[in-house]
């Protein structure tokens, strides 16, 4: 199970590709790919192209449902999804809408 991630060009914010082709700020809102072929098709499409001036560094990551929530499986990606583990009051984890807040 995979999602597509990147950093937003303007401010570096970590984003994931949402179901409607827009980039979203919460991993739980990301479009989940079960099929490798479908994932590759989107990765090669105009939707995620850096030429659209929206994001940089597009790549896929592994996710899983943990306690009912979509969570990146690798620690690095989990940290990207929340913020620095040493500063819980910084990054996405500190936002009111965050499940970790």
């Amino acid at each position: 199970m995979k999602v597509i991630t990147a950093n937003r060009l303007l401010d570096g914010e970590v984003v994931w590709l949402g179901p409607d082709g827009k980039w979203v700020e919460v991993v739980g809102d990301a479009r989940v790919f079960e099929e490798a072929s479908e994932l590759q098709q989107v990765l090669q499409s105009e939707t995620v192209s850096e030429e659209r001036q929206e994001v940089v560094g597009v790549y896929e990551i592994e996710v899983a449902y943990k306690d009912g929530r979509l969570t990146p499986t690798r620690l690095r990606e989990a940290i990207r999804a929340l913020g620095p583990t040493t500063h819980p009051y910084l990054g996405k984890q500190a936002r009111p809408e965050s499940p970790a807040a």
Binding site: L10, G57, T73, P84, T85
Partner: protein, 552 residues
């Protein structure tokens, strides 16, 4: 300290304008990320895990109160209220936006600061002794030569696209506090039998995945040849350094593969061609730069301050603080004060905007308007009167800045690690925090004495783990953070690369392992006067191995 002349200021202003235009073109789509990335890196702007990161140069770690206040202002206005001081004596902001960066650089230029050459394959910020111009063991102020090297290396047309980055460090004291032997070029100020100033020159030191101690190429390089000789080294490196493999591209690999004698010969041949050209350093130019670093007008004071001694007797926490955080000063009645950025359980090297403001105020009121950044990620007020220390201490204490741990086990170097860094394989800061908590008791720290723990979250070794008395390297083992311990490293005048002691430890066991190593030292030392590194060098690996892994 050095002040920009019209050329410096114009150069920095032009560069800001240029970058502003580059950002505009990037945002409008005229530049692709592939085209823009090298341009932003040349201006110190990285993209890390959560956001952009801006690395601002602090030349040879010297800044004044106005500059520190500007850093505080940037932390508050464009970032998240803090900055991270690094082992390169620079500061990093972890959360700026791309759109704000030109404005930040404009603000920095107002106080004669910039982010040029803090990244990329060029000559980076020249680093030096944090006690330069103040230390009682200093032979000459290394910042004069660091500044000359800065001017020579800034936008040097031949050396902007080197095989890899290039770092120069310089010290003016026999006690090397600038780790010169683990830099691409290390310079140690010295004098010859005729009393002339010159340098011992080391080449090919470095950390990263292939740690090497620099090899001595000159016992005495005359002052006037400084730039010609460095030019010769860089030309040889630029010509022969490998460009096919970034992991083998540093000059340390060239030194290793070519051999000391052959490389030295190449450098000397090139030097013959370069010397006596326009790069000869005239004595008048050295004097001109030297004038910028003239010591402040120190008062004539007795070596012993009654006020200071009385406070030590009356206030044990003050006595603890000055016992560790002062360094001997060349002027009687003065000291250099280390302000530790390693509070118990804190993130090494972080300072809040308020703390930066407090330190700027202290520098102005009590410190001749000078502040230093140490490569050990602390701040220093180099010139403080002993008489003033009780007052300074109270202000530091009120602002969480009076941790009395300089050089002790909790005064650790740690890279940002996987909490921020896109290259890291494991976290560093939480490990430092846990070790810090373990050894929070100051009496225990004092009993352990001088001990340098250095932590890196990947093999690039930004946390200098190879030269830690105890080094910790975070690696990724099948998706889990895992930590290797090295022992016996050192970055002073007796530089050594630490040896891996045995198998590594998972994150939840590494603090225990460090404690075990420290306990083994306490059991094996001949007495409190024998430091950790001295004990290790005397007894070797065996007792530590046994303590960690049992008899094998």
């Amino acid at each position: 300290m050095y002040r920009y002349d019209e050329f410096d200021q114009e150069f920095v202003n032009e560069r800001v304008a240029q970058f502003k235009d580059q950002v505009r073109r990037r945002l409008s789509g005229d530049l692709t990320e592939e085209q823009f990335k090298p341009l932003r890196l040349m201006n110190g702007l990285y993209l890390q895990l959560h956001a952009y990161m801006l690395r601002v140069a602090i030349p040879y770690g010297t800044l004044n109160a106005r500059q520190m206040r500007k850093l505080a202002h940037i932390a508050r206005s464009y970032d998240r209220g803090y900055g991270h001081f690094t082992t390169r004596q620079n500061i990093q902001f972890n959360w700026p936006t791309l759109a704000d960066t030109p404005k930040i650089l404009e603000e920095l230029a107002e106080v004669q600061m910039h982010a040029i050459q803090t990244s990329g394959n060029c000559i980076r910020n020249v680093t030096s002794d944090q006690f330069a111009g103040a230390a009682d063991d200093e032979f000459a102020d290394p910042r004069v030569y660091a500044e000359i090297l800065r001017q020579w290396s800034s936008l040097h047309p031949e050396f902007l696209f080197l095989p890899r980055k290039f770092k120069i460090a310089i010290t003016g004291a026999p006690q090397d506090r600038a780790a010169v032997q683990v830099h691409d070029i290390g310079l140690q100020l010295t004098q010859n039998a005729q009393g002339e100033v010159g340098f011992v020159v080391f080449v090919g030191g470095g950390l990263g995945r292939t740690p090497m101690v620099g090899r001595k190429v000159r016992d005495f390089l005359p002052e006037k040849d400084l730039l010609s000789y460095c030019e010769a080294i860089l030309r040889v490196y630029n010509r022969y350094g490998r460009r096919d493999n970034k992991y083998k591209a540093r000059i340390k690999i060239l030194m290793h593969e070519t051999g000391l004698d052959a490389l030295k010969q190449e450098i000397e041949t090139e030097f013959e061609a370069v010397k006596h050209t326009f790069l000869d350093l005239p004595r008048e130019e050295v004097e001109r730069i030297n004038a910028y670093f003239a010591p402040p007008a120190f008062e004539t004071l007795p070596a012993v301050s009654e006020n200071f001694e009385a406070e030590k007797r009356a206030t044990p926490v003050f006595a603890d603080f000055v016992h560790r955080n002062l360094n001997g000063h060349k002027a009687p009645g003065y000291a250099s004060l280390t302000i530790s950025l390693k509070p118990i359980g804190g993130a090494p090297g972080d300072a809040s905007d308020e703390q930066m403001e407090v330190i700027a105020d202290l520098a102005e009121r009590f410190g001749h308007d000078e502040i230093r950044v140490s490569h050990e990620q602390n701040l220093v007020l180099p010139h403080v009167k002993l008489d003033d220390l009780p007052t300074v201490f109270k202000i530091l204490q009120a602002n969480g800045l009076a941790t009395p741990n300089a050089g002790l086990v909790t005064d650790m170097i740690a890279c940002p690690g996987m909490d921020y860094c896109a290259l890291a394989n494991a976290r560093s800061i939480p490990i430092a925090q846990e070790i810090s908590q373990r050894f929070h008791d100051i009496k225990r720290q004092q009993d352990v004495g001088d001990l340098k723990i250095k932590i890196s979250g990947c093999i690039n070794a930004c946390g200098h783990h190879h030269v830690g008395h105890i080094g910790i390297l975070g690696v990724d083992r099948k998706g889990e953070e895992f930590y290797q311990i090295t022992l016996g490293g050192s970055a002073d005048q007796n530089t050594s690369i630490g040896k891996i002691i045995g198998r590594g430890f998972p994150a939840n066991e590494i603090a225990d392992a460090v404690e075990t190593v420290v306990e083994a030292y306490l059991q094996n030392r001949v007495g409190p006067e024998e430091t950790f590194i001295e004990t290790y060098r005397r007894v070797g690996d065996a007792p530590f191995k046994e303590a960690l892994y049992g008899t094998v």
